[in-house]
Amino acid sequence: MPSLKVTLLTGRTLRQGQGKEYGKLSERYWKSVAVCEIDPDDMKKLGITEGNSVKIGTDHGLVVVRAIKSLRGPHAGRVFVPYGPWANVIVNPKTHGTGMPSFKGIQATIEPAPSCEKVLTMPELLERHFKKE
Amino acid sequence: MADLLIKNGFVYDPLNGVNGEKMDIAISKGKIVDKMDGKRKKIIDASGMVVMPGGVDIHSHIAGPKVNAGRLLRPEDHFKDFEAKTDKTRSGVGRSIPSTFTTGYRYARMGYTTVMEPAMPPLMARHVHEELNDTPMIDKAAYPMLGDCWFVLEPLAKGLIEQCAAYVAWTMEATRGYAMKLVNPGGLEAWGFGRNVRNIDDPVPYFNITPREIIQGLCKVNQLLHLPHTIHVHTNNLGKPGNYETCLETMKCVENSGNDGKPVIHVTHCQFSAFKGSDWRTFESGAEEIAKYVNTRSHVTTDMGQVVFTDTTTMTADGPFQYILYQLSHNKWINNDVETETSAGIVPFRYKRSSFVHALQWSIGLELALMIEDPWKIYMTTDHPNAAPFIFYPKIISWLMSRVAREKLLKKVNKRAGHKSLLGTLDREYSFSELAIATRAGQARALGLKEKGHLGVGADADIAIYDVNPEQVDPSKQFRLVRKAFKNAAYTIKGGEIVVKDGEVVKSVGGKTFWVKPELSNPIFEASPRLKKAFEDYYTVQYENYIVPEHHLAVSHPISVKAEV
């Protein structure tokens, strides 16, 4: 399976900003954050097209999101995931004494997701990763 | 609320001619009365103690965006000095810029009951009032800064005094302000592009007006509006060697503004404007020249801006001056320019005994207080926190009252400064009566606060009782006892309630916010759609949202004045 070493950035998008106003549990919201914007050339290298699922892994976790062709290229080697519960599974929690976790510039690996691993819905993701004791 | 009777204290009430007589003071329903009529009565035995009106501070930076930026800038200042929550008080931190609750408690512990925030950017008035609401124990007010507002510069440049007056009147009400503040008039607008004005005749770029014209124009406006306080001026060229000339010119330029011999201008923190010399090497005191002038005139009042050798934080609206201070000290620096109106700068600063310049600055403040003969013309302040935090007032009191105390310190400061200082030749020592003028009566009178600063019938029952016996203690020699007494009041009474006892807060109370409401016969600023349109062009906020509603003040106390326009 082809895979790429990339730098992961997370951040705001207009869709995510609007989506959250419709409710964090709305489909509109979680569909806007369970995505990854990838440079078109990188997509070719991975052998994927828009809408395919990709798995992103960092030292801190693994998550499956939907690939979107980035219109903001070229930015080969950098992928962008909007803020949200999906990004939070893989960001670096270390604050280095500042209080701020590392939400940008994280080393990651990205590859097409195997067919058994789909993009979870929000309730599914919360259930998978969080347990109320 | 029970009536209160303060028995047998040595009362100092200069505004009513009382000078240390043993007297009883009667209080009922928050006011000083002839006789009490309430059923419940509490008696305070003030035998052997000094009784004065509660302290009034005419100029102290305690609330607002600049003060808060200072708090933010200096967590290290707070780490050393904090107060835990008690069942009567909120927690907080000091030191040079205390948090709001702590500010109120610390003033009250020293017997102060009224404090004026002297620098309110009109656009951010809401912020100032929110902090004042959270400052307990004291009555307060704030001065909107007007010396660089476009709505002031434009009409004054065309000689349209009445239009300017209409704007100022509107601003007083819109910002719930008390007095007109000018800071480096004209200089702050120039600072918008990184420039400054060099003297009071240097025109302000793009505005075709000089500082002299701004000062004179606003002085006239102040008289037309009959505001209770005069214009309150931080002079151009503050902090620059040789600036005593600018200070004199500033005072001279409104000499003939005529007010029946009553003051028309207040030059604040005069120490910073009394520098002689052409650079830091030839720096010396200009206090003598300033004092000479003030002694022969009746139109000026001043306050000291006294330096204490300690670590503190400078914060003024004088952006260009603060930038220079940053360059001198290489300390961290915050600058904040406010659109259409003013600016601000903050730089931590340490005054050192060993520094020639700092030591002379220390001397200058005291020289002014000792050489200006009439105590009604110069008041005790530190321009908190610029020259020192207000918690050092007791120290300054001891310097005013004791030559020995001054000379002790004079021996320890930078030798060259010590030689140049005039303090060695100045014998004068403040009496308790003069001290009462310098720390309460004079300030209240200059502010036009008729119910403050005195203990006559009808005054607000704001009283400080200090545990020092004027018949037994010689302040000149026993200055340490005086310092101790004024550091922790035996009693502070606010609005007729005992709020501090033996330097501890025993009851937390709020306080009133004073503001002035000039009544115009023709309020052209509000009425004109053209002016409202200009407002939208000049500001990034809507006209309606700029105004601070009266109910935003926790306890609003408007003072109406009838204007001549």
Binding site: L25, R72 | E339, P549
Partner: protein, 493 residues
């Protein structure tokens, strides 16, 4: 039908206060002057909102009375040793004020969203200060506007039209016409190329599209002309970059080096490398000249700087650059604050406690040490034992490990809508929306205070954050009194 004007938008840090809201039958029907985000908020706030308090019983959230929910919340907080009170950026200052009082009463930590946003900017300011101004100064005076690691198009949509490039100022004209001209010629060029291609196809001739231009080794001359200019510096070409006069693409995690390189150049130093952060040295030289030669420059920066490697040091470098520039010209710097009242949360916290966020009251007085007292760290180390979340959704924002330690302990959520966090709460208190159903005060990104308006009535029995917190505080005090604690003195460990 009525129109409420001069409404302050409780959206982003722009805090636009010129909105007009059409209201009919206590419902918002239309919104004028707002951007997409603001409009979504006014039109969408009433969807998906809980209106009844909820308490977790036997593992499920069930409806409860307000008194019960308040009592349960107060019990949780009064009995905790090290509770966290977090959020605050999406509510009024009045609510935050009660929050501080509550945190002080229970000896907890009060922290706001700066801690995961511009907290490092605050830390840098505490180290070196900063030169800044209110947005009107930019509007009137700025001729060089730089957005660094910030994308207002997405996060602050009206920023350019209200405060920067596309506004009219006293001393500067809007660059809108220039932008339209530029856009016009760009579109004209594209149409010409398409036409040429079509003509070529018709005549069976292959028309070569003009070769792609080599990226220039120097800054375009047009940047040095008079008038407003906007530059975007970012790791990828954002929408804002598309409309900038110049886009500088930089490598991730290299901002610190670039700032310092510019500082060296300003002091007449020389760069001993060919490029810094992916930017050729010649371009940096030109940029240094441009910065020093403008009449009024402003650097807006986003969380791209606070979140990448170096964090606060990145901002310190930026602040120091701007400070150095003041030797040559007027230059200011400003963080692009995200939530509409995160600035207000910092400001209220600072005046009441001395510190802007991460304030720990466990010793009875305010303590501040980000890294120790900041919530992500406290949660990552699993030190807290309860939490009150107000107007925020940490489960959607915090790294997973921190969120897990948040939800496993007693959790109270006060919010206007359902969130990922509220799904794991033990008590949910629905609240009215500040700025739409509740009035109050908020502070813009440039620290200008503005009033929040009440445009519609909240639903029956849905109260403001401020009112709910006051009730919880009263109940906490009652519980503690009955516990015989009196003035509870903190366990100083």
């Amino acid at each position: 039908m009525k129109v409420v004007s001069n409404v302050t938008c409780p959206g982003c840090g722009c805090l636009c206060d010129d909105l007009e809201i059409e209201v009919e039958n206590n419902t918002v029907k239309a919104v004028r002057n707002a951007c997409g985000m603001g409009e979504s908020k006014f039109l969408g706030y009433s969807l998906h909102r809980p209106q009844k308090p909820l308490i977790r019983k036997k593992g499920e959230l069930v409806e409860a009375s307000l008194s019960e929910a308040i009592r349960k919340s107060a019990e949780i907080l009064a009995n905790s040793s090290y509770p966290i009170l977090y959020g605050w950026s999406n509510t009024s200052c009045e609510a935050t004020s009660v929050g501080v009082e509550l945190a002080e009463e229970i000896g907890g930590i009060i922290d706001n969203t700066s801690t995961v946003c511009h907290g490092p900017s605050v830390l840098s300011i505490q180290d070196v200060g900063f030169s800044t101004c209110t947005l009107g100064q930019v509007r009137h005076r700025a001729d060089l506007i730089i957005y660094w690691a910030s994308n207002p198009w997405s996060a602050h949509p009206r920023h350019l039209e209200r405060y920067t490039n596309f506004t009219e100022g006293r001393f500067r004209s809007s660059a809108w016409n220039k932008y339209l001209d530029g856009l016009g010629s760009y579109r004209a060029e594209r149409r010409r190329q398409r036409a040429a291609k079509l003509v070529g196809e018709i005549h069976g001739v292959s028309v070569e599209t003009p070769p792609v231009e080599e990226p220039s080794k120097r800054l375009p001359h047009s940047l040095f002309e008079k008038g407003r200019k906007m530059i975007v510096v970012d790791v990828r070409r954002t929408r804002t970059a598309d409309i900038a006069d110049y886009f500088l693409q930089v490598e991730p995690n290299k901002d610190y080096e670039i700032f310092q390189a510019l500082r060296i150049l300003l002091q007449d130093g020389e760069l001993e490398v060919d490029s810094v952060g992916g930017v050729p040295a010649e371009i940096l030289e030109d940029l240094a000249d441009l910065l020093a030669g403008c009449e009024f420059g402003v650097l807006f920066f986003g969380v791209g700087l606070t979140m990448s490697e170096g964090k606060l040091r990145n901002i310190e470098a930026g602040i120091s650059l701007v400070r150095d520039l003041n030797q040559f010209t007027k230059f200011v710097i400003m963080p692009m604050r995200g939530h509409y009242n995160v600035t207000g949360a910092n400001i209220v916290s600072t005046w009441q406690t001395g510190y802007p966020f991460a304030v720990d009251f466990s010793h009875g007085y305010p303590r501040y040490n980000p890294g120790e007292t900041s919530v992500v760290d406290v949660l990552s180390r699993d030190e807290s034992d309860a939490a009150l979340i107000v107007a925020s959704d940490p489960v959607a924002n915090f790294p997973k490990g921190a969120s897990q330690n948040l939800i496993k302990n007693p959790l109270i959520v006060v919010d206007t809508g359902t969130s990922a966090t509220s799904m794991f709460a033990d008590v949910v208190l629905p609240s009215a929306v500040s700025g739409i159903e509740v009035e109050g005060t908020a502070y813009r990104m440039d620290r200008v205070p503005l009033p929040l308006k009440k445009v519609v009535q909240p639903p029956k029995a849905v109260y403001s954050d401020e009112q709910l917190l006051k009730r919880i505080l009263r109940e906490v005090r009652r519980i503690k009194k009955n516990m015989g604690g009196g003035d509870s003195q903190w366990l100083t460990c």
